[in-house]
C-alpha cells in the first residue's frame, strides 16, 4: 500500500529532471511528456516570438514552432542539451525500467482489450466476411470498433467446416446491424484492433433483456463475467414467498462486459433445460439444445415480476455508476437488498438522495 501511494502520480506532476550536463538522464515512456526548462533570457525571446505575452518559464517541446530556420536550430539545440523535465500526463503509478520511465494509468476511460475479455458489443456493420462490432455500446461518445470474423462464429447447428461463400452471403441471418452480441477477445493486434470470437456456446446474440452502460474502468476483471443474481435476493425478508411460484420469480443473469456494457436478462429456468433434456436422449448435439433454449427465451414473454427484478438490477447498476463504485455481483446484490429493505420504488432508485442511501453499505 505504501509503495502504491508513493508511486502514484497525477497529470502534470514532475517525475524527473535532468540538467544539460548529465544529458539523457531518462527515457520517455508511455503516459509522460518532456518539457524543456529554459533560462529566463531565451525564454523571453521565445515567448515574444511564439506566444506574445506568455509569461511561463517553460516551453513545451511539442508546441514550440519557430518561424525561421535559426529559431528551429535553437530549438533543436535546446532539445539536445537543455535541462529537461519529465512530466506525467496520466494519473497512475510510475513504472521504471532502467532509464525508461512510464506511467501506467490506474483506470483508463478508454477500453483497451486483453485476450479473453468478455465484451458486450453492438454490430454496426457487415461486410468483408466480418462483422464490425462497436465496443462503446452507448449512443454518445466516440466509437471504438472490434472485428468479428466469420471464422470466429459458430455456424447454426454447430457444424464445423470451412466457411463458404454461401456463408458469407448469409451473414445477416446470424447477426444484423444493431444486434447486441456477447463475445470474447481472441486477439489484440499490434495497432490495438480487437479480433473477437463467439465460438463458445456461452457467447452469441443477446435477446429479451436490457443493456446498460458504465465506464469500462468500473468493471474489474474477475473469474466469471456471467453472473447470476438469485431469485431469493429479491424476496423481502419476512414476506411470505408462497405467492410467488417458480415460473414467476426466477434468477436474473447479469453479463458484465469489460468494455462497459452490462446486459441483464432473466436466467433461463431449469425446467426448460429438463424438457429440452428429453431431446438429449435422442442424441441431439448440445449446441442445438442450447440454441433451442435461446430461441425459447427470446420468444417467451418476460413476466411483470421478472421485469421489475430486471429493472431493479439495472437501476442498482446505475446507482453504482453514479457513485463510481466497482460493479460486481456482490455490490449489485447489496444495493438490491438495500433497496428492498428501504422499500423504494424501482423508478425512484436513481434519485440522488436514494442513490446515496442505497449505496451506503456498499461503499464502506
Amino acid at each position: 500500500m505504501e509503495s502504491i501511494i508513493h508511486n502514484f502520480v497525477l497529470p502534470g506532476q514532475v517525475l524527473a529532471t535532468s540538467n544539460s550536463e548529465t544529458d539523457g538522464g531518462f527515457l520517455r515512456g508511455h503516459g509522460t511528456y518532456i518539457e524543456i526548462v529554459q533560462d529566463k533570457e531565451s525564454d523571453n525571446r521565445h515567448a515574444t516570438k511564439a506566444w506574445g505575452n506568455d509569461q511561463s518559464n517553460y516551453n513545451v517541446v511539442m508546441q514550440t514552432d519557430g518561424d525561421d530556420a535559426s529559431n528551429q536550430e535553437d530549438d533543436n539545440d535546446t532539445l539536445k542539451t537543455g535541462p529537461q523535465r519529465l512530466i506525467a500526463s496520466l494519473a497512475g503509478t510510475v513504472q521504471r525500467v532502467n532509464k525508461l520511465i512510464s506511467v501506467i494509468p490506474t483506470s483508463s476511460s478508454v477500453y483497451t482489450g486483453q485476450v479473453g475479455d468478455l465484451i458486450i458489443g453492438r454490430i454496426i456493420g457487415v461486410g468483408g466476411s466480418r462483422w464490425k462490432v462497436s465496443l462503446t455500446c452507448s449512443h454518445n461518445g466516440s466509437t471504438r470498433e472490434g472485428q468479428l470474423p466469420l471464422s470466429g462464429v459458430n455456424l447454426p447447428g454447430g457444424v464445423q467446416r470451412i466457411r463458404t461463400s454461401e456463408d458469407v452471403l448469409a451473414m445477416r441471418s446470424l447477426y444484423k446491424e444493431g444486434d447486441l452480441v456477447s463475445c470474447e477477445v481472441q486477439n489484440v493486434q499490434r495497432d490495438g484492433t480487437l479480433i473477437l470470437h463467439t465460438r463458445s456456446l456461452r457467447y452469441g446474440k443477446l435477446e429479451n433483456g436490457v443493456l446498460t452502460t458504465v465506464p469500462p474502468g468500473l468493471v474489474g476483471r474477475r473469474k466469471n463475467h456471467f453472473c447470476t443474481i438469485e431469485g431469493k435476493v429479491f424476496e423481502k425478508e419476512g414476506a411470505n414467498d408462497m405467492q410467488i411460484d417458480d415460473e414467476e420469480g426466477g434468477d436474473v443473469d447479469v453479463y458484465l462486459g469489460l468494455n462497459g456494457g452490462i446486459w441483464i436478462q432473466r436466467k433461463i429456468p431449469s425446467e426448460w433445460e429438463n424438457t429440452q433434456g428429453m431431446d438429449r436422449d435422442s442424441r441431439v448435439p448440445l449446441a442445438e439444445t442450447l440454441q433451442k433454449l435461446r430461441q425459447r427465451h427470446a420468444s417467451t414473454r418476460v413476466s411483470t415480476l421478472m421485469r421489475e427484478r430486471i429493472a431493479r438490477v439495472r437501476n442498482a447498476v446505475e446507482c453504482l455508476r453514479l457513485v463510481q463504485y466497482q460493479i460486481c455481483p456482490e455490490s449489485i446484490e447489496s444495493v438490491v437488498r438495500a433497496s428492498l429493505m428501504a422499500d423504494v420504488r424501482v423508478g425512484h432508485m436513481i434519485c440522488p438522495e436514494w442513490v446515496v442511501q442505497l449505496t451506503e453499505g456498499t461503499r464502506q
Binding site: G178, A311, R312, R321, V323, G347, M349, V355, V356
Partner: protein
C-alpha cells in the same frame, strides 16, 4: 442510434406493462434537477456572483449521472424594435448541441455528413422552440421601455452538453428556468416634451441622455410573464400488439433507446395553467389505425403515416396531465435545490460531500 429489434420489443412490452426499463411508469418523468443560480431568492443575497458571467439569467438542467446536461444563458440588451412591432420586445433563441457527443471527429471518415446532421438537429430544436415556447415565453408588451425606440431583447442561448432523450423537453425547461431567473434592471426612458428632440433621436439614434438605469441590482425584476413560460412535453407513441389487436400508448420523457422505438412523437407545449400552447408531431410513420385497416382489409398499409383525430386529442390530454406533474416536480425540485445547494450549485456534489472520505 440503432437498437436491435429484440431490445425494442422488450422496451415496448415493458412500457405496455406500465413498468419501463428503468422502473418508471408511463407518465413519469426522470428526476431532473435545476440549478438556476437565481439571485432573486430572498434567502441568499450572495448568490449574485454565482450567475453565469455576463448573462442576466442562467439555468442548468441536469440528470443524475450527467446523462442530460443543458446550460442556458439569457442575455438582455436594449434594441430598437422592428417597425412592424413597435410595442413588443424580442426573444431570440439559439441552440448549440455540438458538444453533445455522437460526433467522432478523430476517426470517422464521414465527419462532414455528421456535422451536417448535427446542424440539422440544432435547427430543428431551435425552430420547434421558436414555435412552441417563444410566443408564450414572456409578456412581450412588458419588455417595452419606450415604444418604437427601446425594447428589451432577450437572447436565450442553450448549450446541450449531453442529452439522453427528449432534448426538446429539457431545452424548454432550461429556457423557462433561465427566463425566470433573469433579472432586468429597471430602465426608464426620459420622455421629453420637446417633440423635435424625440424625433431626432428616433432618426439618428445618437441619444445619450434619454435612459435612466437603476443601478441597484436588488431592484431588478424578472421579465414579466416569465412565470407563465410553457414547458414542452414530448410523448412517444409506442404500439404493441395485445390480444390480437394493436394497442397504442404513450410514454413521457423517453430515453434515447425508448425514443428510437417510438412510431411517432408528439410535442405539446403546456403553460402552468394547463393551457396547450402548441402541438407538433415528429416522425412521420407508424400509427396504424385499426378501423381503417379493417375497412380496407390491409394490414398497416399506406395509411400508417397519419394520426387519427381522436387519438391526437387523447395524446394531448395525456400531455396536459403529464405537464402538470412536471411543473410540480420542477417546483419542488427547485425548492429543494435552493435550500440545499446554496453554496455549490453544481449538481449533487453536496450529497456525497460527507459520504466520501479518501482513505
Amino acid at each position: 442510434m440503432a437498437i436491435s429489434p429484440t431490445e425494442a420489443h422488450y422496451i415496448i412490452e415493458s412500457s405496455l406493462h406500465d413498468f419501463r426499463i428503468d422502473g418508471r411508469s408511463r407518465l413519469e418523468h426522470r428526476p431532473y434537477s435545476i440549478s438556476t443560480k437565481s439571485n432573486n431568492s430572498t434567502s441568499s443575497s450572495t448568490a449574485v456572483s454565482s450567475s453565469l458571467i455576463l448573462s442576466n439569467g442562467s439555468s442548468r438542467i441536469h440528470l443524475p449521472g450527467s446523462t442530460t446536461d443543458i446550460l442556458c444563458s439569457v442575455k438582455a440588451d436594449l434594441v430598437r424594435p422592428s417597425p412592424n412591432k413597435p410595442n413588443e420586445g424580442v426573444v431570440e433563441v439559439s441552440v448549440d448541441s455540438s458538444l453533445a457527443g455522437g460526433l467522432d471527429i478523430v476517426k470517422n471518415s464521414n465527419a462532414g455528413a455528421q456535422k451536417r446532421q448535427l446542424r440539422e438537429r440544432e435547427s430543428t430544436i431551435t425552430s420547434l422552440l421558436q414555435r412552441l415556447v417563444v410566443p408564450h415565453a414572456v409578456n412581450y408588451k412588458a419588455l417595452v421601455i419606450s415604444p418604437g425606440k427601446y425594447v428589451w431583447r432577450l437572447c436565450v442561448d442553450i448549450v446541450v452538453l449531453r442529452c439522453d432523450g427528449c432534448v426538446l423537453d429539457a431545452c424548454a425547461m432550461a429556457m423557462r428556468e433561465g427566463l425566470r431567473s433573469t433579472l432586468l434592471p429597471r430602465v426608464s426612458a426620459v420622455v421629453r416634451s420637446d417633440d423635435k428632440d424625440g424625433f431626432a433621436s428616433q432618426g439618428g439614434g445618437s441619444s445619450n441622455n434619454d435612459l435612466i438605469v437603476e443601478g441597484d441590482i436588488r431592484k431588478a425584476l424578472p421579465p414579466s410573464g416569465a412565470e407563465e413560460c410553457p414547458l414542452v412535453v414530448t410523448l412517444s407513441i409506442l404500439s404493441a400488439p395485445q390480444e390480437e389487436r394493436i394497442r397504442h400508448f404513450c410514454i413521457v420523457d423517453a430515453r434515447t433507446e425508448e425514443e428510437v422505438c417510438a412510431s411517432s412523437r408528439v410535442c405539446v407545449s403546456v403553460d402552468p395553467n394547463g393551457m396547450v400552447c402548441g402541438v407538433h408531431t415528429l416522425g412521420g410513420g407508424g400509427i396504424v389505425d385499426e378501423a381503417m385497416n379493417e375497412e380496407f382489409g390491409v394490414e398497416g398499409f399506406g395509411i400508417s403515416s397519419s394520426m387519427p383525430m381522436n387519438m391526437l386529442s387523447e395524446v394531448v390530454n395525456t400531455a396536459g396531465g403529464a405537464a402538470k406533474n412536471l411543473y410540480q416536480l420542477l417546483d419542488s425540485e427547485k425548492f429543494a435545490g435552493d435550500s440545499k445547494a446554496e453554496d455549490d450549485g453544481s449538481g449533487y456534489g453536496y450529497l456525497l460531500q460527507n459520504q466520501l472520505i479518501i482513505q
